[in-house]
Point group: D2
Chain length 403, copies 4
């Protein structure tokens, strides 16, 4: 591949922008990802930075590794990691980490983020000040919804200041809740690992007299992990997700159904997404540093309610509650996610070299593409409760409508 | 869902057939899979049989389990397993196994086939004699290319004899080499498990002085497992697949490249698909009971060639050969395959009840569908050596063209 | 081995008793375990029962399986499982489960208890009434301290009633806290699995800005699991066990030390045994059905204290709390425990056939032996805080004296 | 601990020697391992080297890591790794690797040897020349029987040259075949991992019509791994070890027994140690670079014999052969081995500082001790075929005497 460095042209439209001659985001806002014939930067002059934000997600290290590999393939010498998310741009004592193939060669064998993560961070203008001061040309941002919004704000501010900086995001949400995308990395691994917890709950429930196993799985606004993990395990009797409201009490409530299961089957397993049934709880209205609402703990709430219910009706019940969140988040990526991360990471670099900015590297309808960040941060993707997958989940659990 | 049993109508076309009023296979030969409003059999009169053929593949038990569950949901009481593949239809001493939800509840937790598998079997006419004698109405056949051809022959013979029998296949090939399908069950698990072998080869190679790790992976006519496993592991220096011919000797041969790797990097890892480089070997022309050509062992061949080569040039080399085939095949399905198996199994039963026969239950361009068996047995699917995935694999390994 | 059935002789001493001519418990209260030349029961007249009590522990199914196998080897035909612990002796609707080699062949491949467990149960006299009514000759009791006391009471009551019943216990405590024994089954597996949680905590802590990973491990009255898991992981900075008291606050308290670790190292991992620091908590004095004190949750307590402390000093800290209890308990036995279970199970049966009663089958100073139950229920075994193993743990963590 | 550096005194006896005033190897040749009040070296003047020899074994990295940690605790600044075994002492282009806590912090999370291994090496005098030239004061040698002999020769040569060098070995044999020791590191992990192979063989055998699973496990001169793995898996029908000779053919041969198993049970699993039945094979008399005899492959031999036998008697048999050797050797240590490695590594350093040389750090009758290398290299430890463990294994497999 012969590459020629082409000139910088000023942004031509709102949202993601590019200098690829074939590109017009106004009419066509999705682009096939991959290397371009012409590249927009002189590789040996480029300083590239990578930053990982938010909570842990399997595959972060795979993406970091692949971004470094691909940058080196282009000939980039100056690659740095910003430690601990956007916080690394301003916190004193946190230093840029020089990155190279040699250093990141095996980081994918462990979970976590080699660069460190954190939530929240400084103001956009401060980050861009720092980008300017550090003379960064390409910024690769790995993060979820909030981080994408942040990446877009940085992109906008760079445009405003006429800075020649490519801001390229790679979506990182274990919940798989970003619209338009087939799946986000880490999700497959999460579903895989979640089954370990479900199987433990099943064994505890089955081995106990009137055992009830309760597992809370990740899903800040969607039930994808809970639904997929329930379906793949085949051991779940009740799956509760935020997209489908349910009553705990009452004739058609969850508790009544558990009572029936204990009576007929002797034990049962419940899988609940963390955001499910929030309307049943008193919420504080508080938010974390990423701006996400702090959810009340539906798992603990249900555990209490189930205990009280069975005590009230004088039936013995032995409830075991498992919250595997951190053990899932800290996993390394499985093979399927590793491939996804590899491709997304390579494409992120191709996108930056093509002169794109304000884009995110993702897979959409089986194709790897670039989407403008603005298009994916409007609202979280949610389980379609009339769709086939949820219906299959209901068939598998055999649960009724809890209303 | 209210279901009415509709009348049997004679087959209307070649290949797969159905009595679904909306169905005309001549014009439209792919049908969306799923339950139909009208069903073609009276559930409590149905005798359904399941048979698993060929080699082991992760997920067999998941499909068996789900077929039984779904049959019971329809109300079928008489479900049997035919032991050890088509052999179970005639071998004396092998008895039908009555199946029920209770019996198969947890079979998915172990690998292998609960019913047993075998290759080859009796003539089609003998199998259909047995089907008649046993009064089987639905036959669910899990197997690969050869087995699908067998299923189709059974379907044809049943039509010829005017038997009201639905023959529904579920494709089982760990190699993922059936055309039209996005993927077949077991493949994802195989790629996952293959990485354990690759990682062992990497550790052995890296820990040895001039270490060379050689891993042979499954792929009777395609390199999908080798390609995906190499890409996801990120530890492979040379990936060899049957779709891309290569020379071992010569200036641009594999051996010369290994020499360079040992010189520059000190160690290397080679991943070879079992059918790769068959043109380099002397083949016996023999076939196994399934009619598959018995391949010469490219892994052992390469191990010898590498040893000889390095001895010849007077350079120390420490080669370790790993063949994880049976340890991969005997795995239980991972979460992703478990979901695939669940849906394919459910759909197989829906298809039979809809009156289809001669079909296979699969996923095609992200949709679950029924395809006529005749359409998928023409030739194996192969890696597109000009495609992006193979190109990504080459980028990952950094290997040159070996010709 | 030729076996002759010898006559029943009345018990000769307090505690465990036997009719083995070589045995005199008065002088020598430990006996080498294993088969005896003479057996005390006519195998084909024996009814043997197995019961599992208390919480789950890896290896229960291995012991059950081996007891059944060995009983069949002796020629016993009538083997039953009492479901859900001692509760199975009286709860209506709970039926004896007939057991055979065929049925239990593969139960060791899954965790949990095939028979079910429960805590507490009926009065001793009621249990013995049930034993009489069921005509049980041998009772194999798997359980911990409380269960051993129960087994001994049953043994005494049988003696009092002149019943020819062998009561043989197999110690089951994941905590490894029974005196005189080298180790109890399940402990090794628990330490192994605990490392998964510690590694997750390490990854979460290391990947976060000022991350603190906190893991609570099992240990109702001892710190063996916490100590061994900390030592083997090599990733723990502070290990807290009940045998060594500590202050949280103050100049030499744990919190002050964490502050230093965060300052110097940036992150840290704390491993706390569930019974550690109970003196720091307000206890309710309540007990569970097994008679064990219900402990206040030191993990949650520490999580709160750490949060408050760092907030108080204005230093950011990101704490992640992991409680892997049920995921550890539900594991299947690892290889080392599987061998231990196999031998203990075989020996339990040999002991019963030798005519012993009131004994427990264990490993003591590398020898497999029978001990009188009375000798092992006096008090739990505890970590010697002046011993070498604890000292090695301190060397590994580098923690100071927290007082 | 206050430490005083004491003077060097000349060696006082043959074999291992020490300057510990309490030590007299003539009368008492085993010493309790651990730190001594007086140390023999000035830590900040010490140059310590570590070398790993032979094949891979789980736990090598744990020992390396702990030796480095403990040396740093003593205050040693100059620590180096000799790459690729003794070969690293002379091979041009191989450089000493400076080691530090920071560098080795997480090496235990991966299998293999961080330093690299190799077999064979230069003459003793050349190694000692190199030791002198490099000014090494302490040499930690991790290896098996042959390596221990090498370590002892180095120790002798150093004494002859009046060099103040401590040569301390840590026994590394996955086979657990060194006399006097309870167990060697890596063995427990090997037994654990071997079960994955046995379980695969079991699943393949059980799922096939007349399936025979054959697993070859490590054991160059002993059957410990095969015996323990067979016992712990509970899935093996025939276990063959080098300590117990057997016939394949004939009325009481293995093949006849397999015939019976296929007839009665339908499938079977055979586990064979690599050195078993060598008398049945034609051996070349060749040795590898470590001086070990190159064994003929009993696994492949049996596979052929079984095929031929069943073909000869006209009975279908489907044999699957699994050799998991490299996948076992490349594993990281499990928790139990990790603790063993930690203590052995710490003790090796304590021993060197105490002024011992020609010793090996091991566990003997539950105590951690130092033994003179000369005592442990006389002959390999072997399974006692009249012992209880082998008897238990026979009980578990149910196999007869094959003679």
């Amino acid at each position: 591949v012969t590459m020629s460095v082409i000139k910088y042209s000023s942004p031509t439209s709102a949202g993601a922008e590019c200098i690829d001659p074939d590109c017009s985001w106004v009419e066509q806002w999705v682009h096939r990802a991959g290397p371009r014939k012409d590249i927009y930067y002189e590789p040996n002059e480029v300083k590239a930075a990578i930053v990982t934000c938010g909570g842990l997600c399997p595959g972060l290290n795979d993406v970091i590794r692949q971004v470094v590999f691909t940058l080196e393939t282009y000939g980039v010498k100056n690659i740095v990691g910003i430690p601990f998310g956007f916080r690394g741009f301003f916190e004193k004592g946190l230093k840029e980490m020089p990155l190279s193939r040699n250093l990141v060669e095996n980081i994918n064998l462990a979970g976590g983020s080699f660069l460190g993560v954190s939530r929240g961070g400084p103001k956009t203008s401060e980050i861009v000040d720092s980008i300017q001061a550090r003379r960064i040309d390409m910024l690769f941002v790995l993060g979820g919804n909030g981080t994408h919004a942040g990446a877009n704000a940085i992109h906008d501010e760079c445009r405003k200041r006429k800075l020649k900086v490519s801001v390229v995001a790679v979506p990182k949400t274990i919940d798989n809740d970003i619209p338009l995308m087939d799946k986000t990395f880490g999700f497959d691994t999460a579903v895989e690992e979640a089954q370990r917890a479900i199987n433990s709950a099943y064994i505890e429930a089955r081995s106990a007299y009137h055992g009830i196993g309760l597992v809370k799985l990740m899903g800040r606004s969607s039930g994808f992990i809970a639904m997929h993990a329930s379906l793949s395990s085949g051991q779940v009797d009740v799956c509760l997700i935020p997209e489908v409201s349910f009553a705990l009490d009452g004739e058609y409530g969850v508790l009544q159904h558990l009572e029936q299961l204990i009576k007929n089957k002797g034990f049962c397993v419940v899988c609940v997404a963390e955001a499910a049934g929030q309307e049943l709880l008193q919420n504080s209205g508080a938010t974390d540093a990423s701006g996400n609402a702090i959810l009340s703990d539906i798992g603990v709430h249900m555990q209490q309610k189930i205990k009280t219910h069975f005590k009230g009706i004088g039936v013995h019940a032995d409830i075991k509650y498992i919250d595997p969140t951190y053990m899932v988040r800290a996993c390394r990526a499985n093979a399927s996610d590793a491939i996804l991360c590899t491709v997304l990471g390579q494409n992120a670099v191709h996108g930056a070299f093509a002169g794109f900015s304000g884009i995110t590297s993702c897979i959409c309808n089986t194709h790897y593409v670039y989407l403008p960040v603005t298009q994916v941060i409007t609202a979280p993707k949610r389980v379609n409760h009339k769709g086939r997958m949820w219906h299959r989940c209901l068939t598998s659990t055999g649960q009724p409508d809890f209303r």
